[in-house]
Structures are given as C-alpha cells and as structure tokens.
Symmetry: C2
Subunit: 335 residues, 2 copies
DNA sequence: CGATCACATGGTAACGATTACATGCGACAT
DNA sequence: ATGTCGCATGTAATCGTTACCATGTGATCG
C-alpha cells in the first residue's frame, strides 16, 4: 500500500508538505501543491484513516446501536442518521443488537475499541453495564427512541402518548370495549410508555385493562403471534389488539390469518410505527407514525454537538395517529 | 483515555508483557497474567483498535456496500452478513448507496481509507471507477447479488431464471397473455438477467414482449408507480405486471390502488424478492424468493477466504417461485 | 562445574499520519 | 548594507500497539 512517504518521494518534497496539501493548509505554494496532487493520483494514493485517527485522536465516525435492523422503523432511522452524519462529514457504523442484551454489549464494546467519536443508542432491554461504563468514561452519547432512565444522557424521542389516547378514542368510538395490548420487553422505556399511556387512555374511557389483556412481547414478530394466540384462547378474547411495534403487528396478523379470523370484524388491529406496507395489507392498518427521519437528524445534531464540545439537550417530538380500516370503518379515514 | 502504558505501570510490568497478556501469548507466567488482568479491569482499560490496526495492518473489518438499505431484501442480506462475519471474528461496516452511483463511490472510498480487510459489494448502476481501482489494488472483494461483468471478482448470487420461467408459466396457465415487466436500471446485472429471463420465458410460450411492456425502473418505489401508471395509460394495457424487486411492486400497488383497480382481476402482480409482508397484502403477492441468508453467509465465507489468503470462487444458488393470490386463483397455492 | 537451554520479561523500532518547531530565503524598511 | 519579517518547507516527536531481539535466571545435562 502506498503511503504519504511514497508520495513525498515522488513529488520531491517532505511528508509534511504532502500532509499540508492533503489537509489543505494555506502555506503551500501553488506549484508544489499541484506537483503533490499529481503524485497522489499517479500513485493512486489513498490516505490511511487508521494512522490519521491514531494521531489526531478522532475518527470522524459515529456509532449507532439499534435494537433490530429488520424492523423497518430502525432501518429508516439508521438511514436518516447516516444521511445527517454524512452531511456533517461523519461516517456511521451500525451495530444491530437484535433485541439481545449480549449482542448490544458486544457492539458497544467494539465501537468503543474503534474509538468512534460518539455513540447513538437505542438500548434494548437489559445489558447496560457497558453503556454505563461509556457514560462514566465521558464518551459523547445520545439516546434515540428508547433510553435508560437515570443516566445523564440527552434523549431524542417521540412522545407517543397523545397518539395512543387518540387511538383508544378511535377504537372506543367504533364500539370496541375489550382492548388488549402487546407490550415490549418490560425494561424498555418505549414498552412501558406505550402500555402506560394505553392504560391511562382506557381509564379515561372507564375501561379496565386486565392483566390477561396485556401480552408480553419482545418487539419481534413471533412474540406478536404468540401473544395474539394467547388472547384468542381466552374465555373472553379482546375485540381489539394494539401491537406496540410493527413486527408484532405482523405476528398478530399471521396468527389471525392462521385461524381464519377477519380484521376488523373478528378483531380490530392497530400498531405503533407506521410503515409503507401498512397501506397495502388486508385491511390497511391503523398505526401511530413517528417522525422517524427527524428523529434521526435531531439525534445526530445533538450527538455532534457533544462530540465537538458543545452542549446538547433532549428533544421530544410527537407521534400521530394514522387511521385506516383495521379498526373498523369510520367516516373520515386519512390515507 | 488509559493506554497499555498505564496498565503496564499499574501492574509493574512492561508494555510488551501487557500486550502479550492481551493477545494471550503463551510465554507469560500465570501470576503476572492475573496481575495484568486485574490492572486492566481496575483501570477500565479498553484496547485501542486504531493503534492495533495501524501496527498489524489489519482491521478485522469487512465493508458491505449495498444499493438500498430500505429494501427489505438488502436489510436481510446485511443482517446475514453481519451475523456470519461476527461468527468469524469480523465486524461489518455498511455503506448504503441508495441506488446512487456517487454515494456508492463515496462509501467505497471511505471504506478503503478505513483499510477494511475486504469488501462485499452489490453494485449500483454506474460509478464503478472506485471499484475498479480497488480491484486493481488487489483489495479482497466479492460481489453479492449484483456484479460488474468483466471483473475478476467472485460473485455470490441466486439465479432467478428458472423461477422467472415458472412465474411466466404460472401467469400463462391463469390465462394472462399481455405480460409486462418493470425492470431495474439497465446496467445492473440483476435488472438485465430478470428482463432477459422474462423475455425468453415469454417466447417459449409464443408471447411477445413489446418495448412498451418493459417499464424502466430504478428499484425504487416511485419508479414502480410511474411505470405502472404508464402501462395503464396504454391503449392496450397489460393484464399482468412483474416487478423486478419488492419496492417497485409496492409502487405498482400504490398506483393500482390510486386508480381503484383490483388485483388480480384488473391486473395480476408478481414481484422479485419475497418479504414477510407479502403474505398480508391485499391480495397476498406471488413472489420469487431468494435464499437471502445463505447468500449472505456464502458471500462472507468467500470474502474471508480471500482476506486470509485462500482462494474463492463464485457461488450460484437458485431462487424459487412462491405462488399466492395476486396472479389469480389457482388450485395448489403454497403459503 | 560450566555450557546450554528454555522461558519469562524488557527495550525499542516500526506502522502512517499530523504538527510544533526549526530553518532558509527573498523582500523590505531603515 | 543589515536586521527583521513572513512564507514555504523540512525535521522529528508523537499517537498506542505489536513483534523482534536482547537479557537475565534457573534448571538440566554431560
């Protein structure tokens, strides 16, 4: 591999001068600059980011640890993050935890060893020790979507509570009274927030939320199917199910279909996180949409502020309900 | 940040010994080993992968450049790749080209500067100069799914031709005669292969493939919608459309829905790449499924062979047709 | 008993860049 | 003419590791 030394030799200058040209330092005579530049292209020289990082103590790279790449919400988030980061001159390295604590630890560790400049994380349930270490070591960090309570780390997320209230009102107005929810892992903030908001909303309509109507999910398809099966095996099954993420909604549909049940006649269905496919499912699914791209952009903004020595504060956006036909036919349904 | 030097001081040994412990070199007395190890945990020392890479000339990192993360096929591929790589002790850095040549160049460049050990790429249309450079510089590289003809680089992909023939037979048996296709960018191998296979299959049934029945797509949702709109505006629209990826199929559905047309009565629809949502769309969509996970695993296997100095050869798997209801009702429809 | 050997450990030169400091040189003012 | 200044460039230290070579210390053996 050709190094800065080879370029220096070819151009008949010192490595310092080559470095100056490469970092366009002003104090370089125009003709030497062109001489160096042509040596660079002649040799096909490519700067070694590893060496540069070692020397400068910065990698211009952000780490992003998400709980599940296969979840379209996180895919979109990742894309937005990469976009924003690239726009600011940073790269992004993604670690997919697959909703698995040990994997999350693994990725945080390797990212830290790579000396990424900052860390964006949407923590899974459990396995927070590595993250606490990182915070203690003052690694610039921002939580996005989910967070770990009690840590002094800015959080960029969307508040889903108003939308959950809207959803419950929507279901109530369509005559549903036995409302069930499939929650996420108990220790994720989003899981809790969504279940709590659901419970509050039900209360405000005078409806109970019995324990058997709270399904235990893990944000993965299969758990949505299982929870739905459990609901359907109940003596008095619910007449509406709210899946707190889109993958579990998919699982719920799988199970309903398997049993030959129709949505919304036999069971109403709604999901947290809207995705393009929900428009074309049978029936189109009512969902709560997060401003995903903005979430990603704001999170990157906050993180880069931290990385570059400024301060950053938490950001709360809001999610909104998008009603379609999966809860029943209503008058004013927006696409 | 604490370095190996600090650990050495704390443990009362030299940096060489610490390094030996960290890389579990045999020649270290058990008691010094434990002394060093406890110093490591006391100080919360984390090895600096940047320095290590500079010294060892390897990063134990693979680059993966894909054409579009938002496409579930590539998301799944990326997951499989990361999985396989992690199992072999490698990390993966993903670059998303968004079907955009310039972005692909950008990612290849930064990955190369990062000195990744090997590159896995599913090239977009155009912008191949950086890739040619990399090949010339003997960067270990493997193409996955798509490839650039004429380069001596192993290709891991699934042959879709038999499945396309099956699809055409299926459509023909259901009475469809005016078959159209929405292709990908003309320069992608997958785009070409799929259109060519479609044409051949049509010929074997004595059907023509007029130019106006070949839609120009770019593997993105919107182009699928546009191509479908163009088909529908024809004096004699096709009665079946084959979208050569799932995103364009989504676009086609968007347009059909917008015009209030029904699938399959008004228009049959099939897609390349199967995804979980296709089971639940209205109607469920007939698709050609690739062995995505295996594609990822085999590609990583081949690349690591190259990286570690062995040789690697191309791998061709096969895709298979999964019939559902979007082409019409048939007797034996599989899941 | 001295030579040999294995083993544990230490010293130190790279790896490829950046950057503070030194140097040389022409221009300019006095 | 000479001192001063600023500009272009070179020299060398440094970042945190690894790996080669040297060294010291017992143990083993003829």
């Amino acid at each position: 591999m050709t190094s800065i030394k080879d370029v220096a030799f070819a151009a008949g200058v010192s490595v310092a001068t080559v470095s100056r040209v490469l970092n366009d330092h002003p104090a370089v005579r125009p003709d030497t600059r062109t001489r160096v530049l042509s040596a660079v292209t002649d040799l096909g020289y490519r700067p070694n980011a590893v060496a540069r990082s070692l020397r400068t103590h910065q990698t211009r790279t952000l780490g992003l640890v998400i709980s599940d790449v296969l979840n379209p919400f996180f895919t979109e988030l990742a894309r937005a993050v990469e976009d924003a980061a690239r726009g600011r001159g940073y790269s992004v390295v993604i670690g997919n935890a697959d909703e698995h604590a040990a994997l999350q630890e693994h990725h945080v560790r390797t990212l830290l060893e790579r000396r990424i400049d900052g860390l964006l994380v949407s923590p899974t349930d459990g396995g927070t020790s590595m993250i606490r270490d990182a915070v203690a070591a003052e690694t610039p960090m921002v939580f996005v979507d989910r967070w770990i309570p009690g840590l002094d780390v800015p959080v960029v997320h969307a508040d889903g509570r108003p939308a959950v209230h809207d959803l419950v009102a929507h279901l109530h107005s369509l005559g549903h009274r036995r409302l069930a929810i499939i929650g996420g892992p108990s220790e994720t903030t989003t899981g809790n927030e969504r279940v709590e908001a659901f419970r509050e909303a039900l209360e405000s309509h005078g409806l109970p939320l019995p324990r058997r109507y709270i399904g235990e999910g893990d944000f993965q398809t299969e758990s949505g199917r299982r929870a739905t099966a459990a609901f359907l095996d109940l003596a008095e099954p619910p007449d509406a199910v709210f899946a707190t993420d889109n993958l579990m909604a998919l699982g719920a549909m799988d199970e309903l279909r398997r049993r030959g049940l129709r949505v919304p006649q036999d069971m109403a269905l709604a999901a947290f996180d809207d995705i393009p496919w929900f428009l074309h499912t049978d029936p189109p699914i009512t969902a709560i949409a997060q401003p995903t791209a903005e979430l990603g952009h704001r999170a990157v903004g906050a993180l880069i502020d931290l990385v570059e020595g400024r301060t950053a504060s938490s950001v709360t956006l809001t999610a909104r309900l998008v009603t379609r036909r999966s809860c029943g036919e209503s008058e004013g349904s927006r696409s």
